[in-house]
Amino acid sequence: MASITAPTDRSAPHLADVSSRPNALQRVVNVWRYRELLVSLVRKELKVKYKNSVLGFVWSLLNPALYLVVFYVVFKYFLGAGLPNFAIFLLAGLLPWNLFGVALGAATGSIVQNPSLVTKVWFPREILPLASIGAGLVHFVLQTIVLLGALLIFRSAPSPTFMCLIPVALLALVLFLAAMSVGLAAINVYARDTQHLLELVLLAWFWMTPIVYAYEMVAQKSIGGVAVGNKLLLNPITGIVITFQRAIYNKVDVITKPNGVPTVTHVLPPHGILWYLAILGITIVVSLVLLYGAFHIFGRLEDNFAEEI
């Protein structure tokens, strides 16, 4: 788009087509050119969210803290099924999940909630759902403060080796999130029920992901005579969550004494770093394919955003 180039020489105009659909690659280039807008929109989203609130950013810390307390109490004391250092285990999975769930929810509504921008000015529309992901990442960073606090309190050490996988896991998460966000944000303009349906789907998805329970506890079960095994990994979030748990919780097996008898409980897949890396690699490749498709769908649906809003 010429609208983003630096002021050109007025005597030699370069005519750029504004009426044809840019392809997925051009869309990515446009988003990159508008990265400053992306940053301002992230800042805007954060500012608007906490404008006129006294506690401001503390609210985004209170969310995981509250989850932590509730789940901790319920699982450790009510159900008596807690793992040792359950708080660390829970937070390790909850933080990436929160990033996913909250950002996807915000991104899905991002276009319909910004009519003053969408109907009045041109910019690559994908920026809006991507800005929701950006705001989610800021919250994610803030929420790691809660995690660091918990690590200190429980004197639990993460795995230095597996910590190297965290950036990869985060990349996989952001790519998957971007694909879902861009696609759903566009669909939601035409079918507003998408955002409500998404809330339900996310609720189910949360419980289908090994966050409050351990991966191995379910993988070893069989449902209707069929072993669950690594079918759990069909959920792309599972691979990401278990990587976070492997790095931060840092225990593959734990020894619990439910009836006074020491029993070994398997928590996470007892594989090496390459196994985890392979899972993440697959997630990244799948996400990139989905992202390409999402940009394509977005480009087709974008034509009438300004009218449909």
Binding site: P7, R10, V18, K51, V121, A191, D193
Partner: protein
């Protein structure tokens, strides 16, 4: 001069769903095939705007002018056809373009700048100019939701004109805000014109069109009626309004309803131009306004009156047969009264004629015929304003130097 905006055979179709079905359930149930009507907001528009040219878009509400502007800025994508443009476009579409109510004026300036593709450092450099132009220094750190509509318009306009766009797209924004600010915006628009920037401009205001546009295009229900000199375009625009039965005066609020006795009835009226085939008068040509009456019974106390208004409802002249020195003793049966205008010293436009028959003291109105007849005046010069003053310009100077300087 090369083209700055090229609009080639652009059409835009909207689907009007009979029931706005935004819910997923309805879409699923009907498998995405909801009953809809096609509505063509734009049909085969062709318009080329040259570098440094100012083109006005005239059209009634719903004529497609705003849709066209949105297609040019890329907000909407045309269904068919191609639009190309050269350089950055700053668009002012309606009030508060792209302003977020929860953010302060300062934050909005930065966000608007980045929407227009400027870096933060760039916006910081022009920030003071923007604030100075907007004249809202004291409120710049307040949330925009506390701004009046005039203040929002000021801020939006200040951003748009200070970001150094190659193309400025304006949709009816000059009508907001006070006169002093509108004047300032107009001055800035004229500065843009001198700097060779391209302006695409939507307005209802005929005077403004004549004043600043090099050319104007008239849209009517998505069709392009004409593109041409502003004076002709304004006439064509008024034709479209009149054909649609839209009264250009209605908005100006000129309605005169009073009871009439019908003792003398106006049965017809004609505007007669010097050139009967032209359908308009040039400013120095005579025009006759002829009125046909019918008085079934003899009426003694009678005078014929004529008022001419401009499109904004300003009375240009109001007169009657008494004032013009014609004493009509009585009327009976059919007859004609002709007001002979030696010249119509007006710049171009459509002027509205109202006729009436009343008693000498105007205490009794027999009949009237309001706003049904029009005098069209075509001005061939680019002079702006309302009155065609017969004039010319001279220069005399003491030395050759002054002349050279001029």
């Amino acid at each position: 001069m090369g083209a700055s905006i090229e609009i080639e055979d652009v059409s835009k179709r909207f689907k009007l769903y009979q029931e706005k079905a935004h819910s997923l359930k309805e879409r699923v149930v009907k498998l995405g095939r909801l009953p809809y009507e096609e509505f063509w907001a734009l049909r085969n528009i062709d318009l080329e705007v040259a570098q440094g040219e100012t083109v006005g878009l005239l059209g009634h509400n719903g004529s497609g002018k705003s849709t066209l502007l949105k297609c040019v800025t890329g907000i909407l994508r045309p269904t068919s056809g191609r639009i190309r443009k050269a350089g950055r476009v700053a668009a002012l579409l309606e009030l508060g373009s792209g302003m977020h109510p929860e953010l302060t004026g300062r934050e909005n300036i930065f966000m608007n700048g980045s929407i227009l593709g400027l870096s933060k450092a760039h916006v910081a450099r022009i920030f003071d100019d923007i604030v100075a132009f907007s004249e809202i220094e004291h409120f710049i750190d307040q949330q925009v939701k506390h701004y009046s509509s005039g203040m929002q318009a000021r801020l939006a306009f200040a951003v748009a004109v200070n970001v150094d766009p190659e193309i400025l797209v304006i949709d009816e924004v000059l009508s907001v805000g006070d006169e002093a600010f509108a004047r300032k915006c107009l001055d800035r628009i004229k500065q843009f014109q001198r700097e060779g920037r391209t302006i695409l401009f939507v307005t209802h205001n005929a005077d403004l069109t004549r004043q600043i546009c090099d050319r104007a295009a008239v849209l009517d229900h998505g069709h392009q009626v004409m593109v041409g000199p502003p004076g002709e375009a304004v006439l064509a625009f008024r034709d479209t309004l009149l054909k649609r039965g839209l009264d250009p005066l209605a908005e100006a609020g000129i309605t005169a309803e009073w009871g009439t006795t019908k003792q003398v009835r106006i049965v017809g009226a004609q505007i007669i131009y010097a050139d009967p085939t032209a359908g308009h008068a040039l400013p120095d040509e005579p025009v006759k306004v002829r009125l046909e009456y019918d008085a079934p019974e003899r009426v003694d106390d009678v005078a014929f009156a004529m008022n001419i208004h401009d499109q904004n409802g300003n009375l240009l002249v109001g007169t009657n047969s008494d004032l013009l020195g014609l004493d009509i003793p009585s009327v009976r049966g059919r007859g004609e009264v002709t007001f002979n205008l030696d010249r119509v010293p007006l710049l171009d436009g459509v002027y509205v004629v109202s006729l009436g028959v009343h008693s000498h003291d105007a205490g009794t109105s027999y009949d009237h015929r309001d706003q049904k007849d029009f005098i069209e005046v075509l001005n061939t010069t680019k002079t702006v304003g309302l009155v065609h003053f017969p004039m010319h310009v001279d220069i005399s100077s003491a030395s050759h130097d002054t002349q050279a300087a001029l």
